[in-house]
């Protein structure tokens, strides 16, 4: 048992690090890269181009599409090093992590050639168009219609929670091509040109104030049949490939952790009026639990990396991480605010501790508990795919989509 790279991994990490130093400079402190603002976007695209030229993009992909056919652990290692340098990889994560692998798996040879290169070089950015207002946890229940018309498909409907739609050039779109079939069987996947007429992107105003996601509306948008991914009616299986790749792209914990709230506690009066918060045993016990949860999450990722470096593919157990992190984030944010007492209501970054990081956590965590699989859906996944418990009763089996009950 050790935390060392294998010889090959170590060599690769050293090369990667050297390249990053040459390309970016010194490792940077954790900062929030404001994805989407034109300046940082230019920088991100420039970085991605260099990365591709140096052969660090698409590490795990087949050689014929410009990859290096390395095992997944190597992209994890490169990602770790990029993180230390705060490399601006955000805008490309979904495209290269989910969309393009799907394109490679299901598109025609000439289209693959057309799309993979520009995406790798960062010239074109992709987004994923699955979720809809009435199809969140139940994505396969989506409404957006695609109707065949000559050589084209005509798209009408709406997607929601689309990250990066406003700066994306293309997207993979899951639409319903046959409402007469069972809901999973009437879906088809397409490549959508986000600049096509009839595509309208609107930012979503979040409860936290900001807007990190979009709604995308389709009004008689035409997609040539040559941009279909996989067979007509096979869209769900295509989507599963996309979503399987999502799981490999598990994000780390964001927001303040036990270390930050420990600092806060050193300089805050305890609610009991006896000394500071860090001397308060109730707080100390909470701190211990946060530490165990936070370290457990990090150590769990090491176990996943170990599996990867042994050539195994990590399963749905990584769902654990998001349940733990999102709820711990909400809990720590809330605890910090309450510890500040009446003053805790002040969210102004100029006055609140850590520039309002705890308040951001309080307002962000509810979204984190929902995005990319709610706490409840993730527990279902663990119960069914890890523990092998039976599915819940399915009332939509063998029923045509058009006959399914829906929101009143």
């Amino acid at each position: 048992m050790d935390f060392n790279d294998s010889p090959e991994e170590a060599t690769f990490r050293a090369e990667a690090r050297a390249w990053l130093e040459k390309t970016i400079g010194a490792p940077a402190a954790k900062t929030l890269v404001r994805i989407g603002d034109p300046e940082s976007m230019k920088g991100a695209k420039a970085y991605q181009k260099k990365k591709a030229e140096a052969g660090y993009a698409g590490l795990t992909w087949k050689k014929e599409v410009g990859g290096r056919e390395l095992p997944p652990i190597f992209s994890v290692i490169f990602g770790q090093e990029e993180q230390k340098f705060q490399a601006p990889v955000g805008p490309f994560a979904i495209g290269l992590g989910m969309c393009i692998p799907t394109v490679i798996a299901f598109h025609s040879p000439d289209k693959i050639k057309r799309y993979v290169g520009p995406a790798l070089k960062g010239d074109e950015i992709w987004c994923q168009l699955f979720s809809e207002p009435s199809a969140g946890s139940d994505v396969a229940g989506l409404k957006t219609k695609a109707v065949r018309d000559g050589d084209d498909w005509v798209i009408n409907g709406q997607k929601v929670w689309t990250s990066g739609a406003h700066y994306s050039d293309y997207g993979i779109l899951l639409a319903r091509t046959n409402p007469e079939k069972e809901k999973h069987k009437g879906l088809t996947m397409f490549v959508l040109n986000m600049k096509a007429p009839g595509v309208e992107v609107r930012p979503i105003h979040q409860m936290s104030g900001g807007s990190n996601f979009n709604e995308v509306y389709f009004n008689d948008v035409r997609i040539p049949d040559t941009e279909r991914l996989g067979e007509v009616g096979n869209g769900w299986n295509v989507a599963l490939v996309t979503l399987m790749n999502e799981r490999l792209a598990v994000g780390g914990s964001s927001g303040p952790e036990y270390g930050e709230i420990l600092e806060l506690a050193r300089n805050t009066r305890s609610p009991s009026g006896k000394g500071t918060l860090i001397q308060d045993q109730a707080f100390r016990e909470k701190l211990a639990s946060w530490y165990v949860s936070s370290e457990g999450y990090t150590l769990g990722k090491y176990r996943t990396m170990t599996a990867l470096s042994k050539g195994q593919t990590p399963g749905p157990e990584s769902s654990i991480g998001k349940i733990l992190n999102a709820n711990r984030m909400q809990d720590i944010g809330n605890a910090a605010i309450e510890a500040e007492d009446h003053f805790g209501i002040i969210s102004d970054p100029a006055l609140a501790p850590m520039q309002g990081a705890f308040h951001n956590a309080y307002m962000w965590a509810p979204g984190l508990r929902i995005a990319g699989g709610t706490d409840e859906i993730l527990r279902n996944i663990i119960a069914e795919r890890v523990l092998g418990l039976p599915q819940d009763v399915r009332v939509d089996k063998g029923v045509a989509y058009k006959d399914l009950p829906t929101n009143r």
């Binding site: 609610p271 809330n334 209501i345 102004d348 508990r369």
Partner: protein
């Protein structure tokens, strides 16, 4: 056994609910939420004054209705349910209660009628910075005639006309009354988690002020005011929590996933059942607080702590799980879930955070067992 509100009080509740549904709809609340310049609905404030709510518990000699604590609880619950954007708690639960508890006859007759009419907006200023205040942490000082120092945050301090301030006087602490309309008082408005209520930092530079109650009794007076306010705020919290549960039940019945109402999934059913349990637990403890409040019972300090702890737990749980039950929609600005998630946090810290009250509860329980 008659551990419930009277029929008259229930009629009053229904009327209050109807009035607020009309004059403090979620749409009306959002006008304040979305306008950074606004922190209060002045038309609504005038309205509740005309309804007589501001004078509900103020003796008739001062123009009030002379009703009791139970009627205040009934109103508080409805104000909480409506997330009403008015300085009701600051003016009534804190400022008016302080004057009633310790004000001189002159102070009472000068101030209370203005409260009843809605012309006076009161604030209660204790906090001077991060963390729970303690008798030794207060730095604002009163020299018998003027007040100097700073208070942050002061809820509704941006629009208040008067404030009751806890300040050092000689060796002890006193409550002092300040008319905020004087050059020696500066206000800095604050950005908070709950934009539907105003907050400010109040800076006093030898501001004219007069004492309320005896010198050196400020801390005890403040604690007494906080005990009464804790019960009333508990009802605001339960009103808010109940509104969250109602929203969640409604959504769970109308929203389908996997071709079923999501309310038919145990994950949602049990989440909502847990909300109900937390709210009923809060309600039982709050009722006891209401009884103690209305009877001036010696049980008030313990009952108030229990009510506040249970109600704060219930509101936070209901507010956050209401968002969760709504899924992605719940995380949007347009859906109202976050109004309650924000207000829940304000009410949980406004009169002292949970840790403060758990300690109060246990200390009071120890005294009771010792007695």
């Amino acid at each position: 056994m008659n551990f419930d509100f009277s029929d008259d009080q229930k009629i009053m509740r229904d009327q209050a609910r109807k009035f607020l549904a009309e004059h403090s709809s979620r749409k009306a609340v959002r006008v304040v939420l979305n306008d950074a310049a606004k922190s209060c609905d002045m038309a609504l404030w005038k309205g509740v004054a005309e309804q007589g709510w501001l004078g509900a518990a103020i003796p008739e000699e001062f123009g009030g209705l002379g009703l009791g604590g139970l009627e205040q609880c009934v109103l508080a619950e409805e104000i909480g349910r409506a997330v009403a954007p008015i300085p009701f708690s600051s003016t009534i639960y804190f400022f008016a209660e302080a004057i009633l508890a310790a004000g001189s006859p002159a102070q009472k007759s000068a101030l209370l009628p203005k409260i009843v009419s809605g012309d006076l907006i009161g604030a209660f200023a204790i906090s001077e910075g991060p963390g729970a205040p303690s008798p030794t942490s207060i730095e604002a000082s009163f020299d018998g005639a003027t007040l100097s120092g700073a208070k942050i945050p002061v809820t509704d301090g941006d629009i208040a006309t008067h404030a009751v301030v806890l300040a050092r006087e000689g060796q002890g602490l006193s409550l002092v009354l300040v008319d905020l309309a004087q050059p020696a008082v500066k206000r800095e408005t604050l950005t908070t988690l709950d934009p539907t209520r105003g907050h400010a930092k109040l800076i006093f530079d030898r501001a004219k002020a007069e004492r309320i109650g005896k010198a050196g009794e400020g801390w005890q007076l403040a604690e007494a005011v906080l005990d009464r306010a804790a019960v009333l705020i508990a009802f605001e919290q339960l009103g808010g929590a109940q509104a969250c549960l109602d929203m969640a039940v409604d959504y769970a019945k109308g929203r389908y996933a996997f071709s079923r109402q999501i309310g038919s999934f145990q994950a949602i059913k049990h989440k909502l059942a847990d909300m109900y349990v937390a709210i009923e637990l809060g309600r039982s403890n709050a009722y006891y607080g209401a009884w103690a409040l209305s009877t001036e019972s010696a049980q008030l300090p313990l009952a108030a702590a229990a009510a506040r702890i249970a109600a704060s737990d219930a509101y936070y749980f209901a507010a956050k799980e209401n968002i969760q039950a709504h899924g992605g929609m719940g995380f949007t600005w347009e859906v109202d879930c976050h109004l309650f998630y924000r207000r829940a946090k304000l009410l949980a810290v406004q009169a002292g955070g949970p840790g403060v009250w758990k300690e109060k509860l246990v200390r009071r329980l120890e005294l009771k067992n010792a007695a």
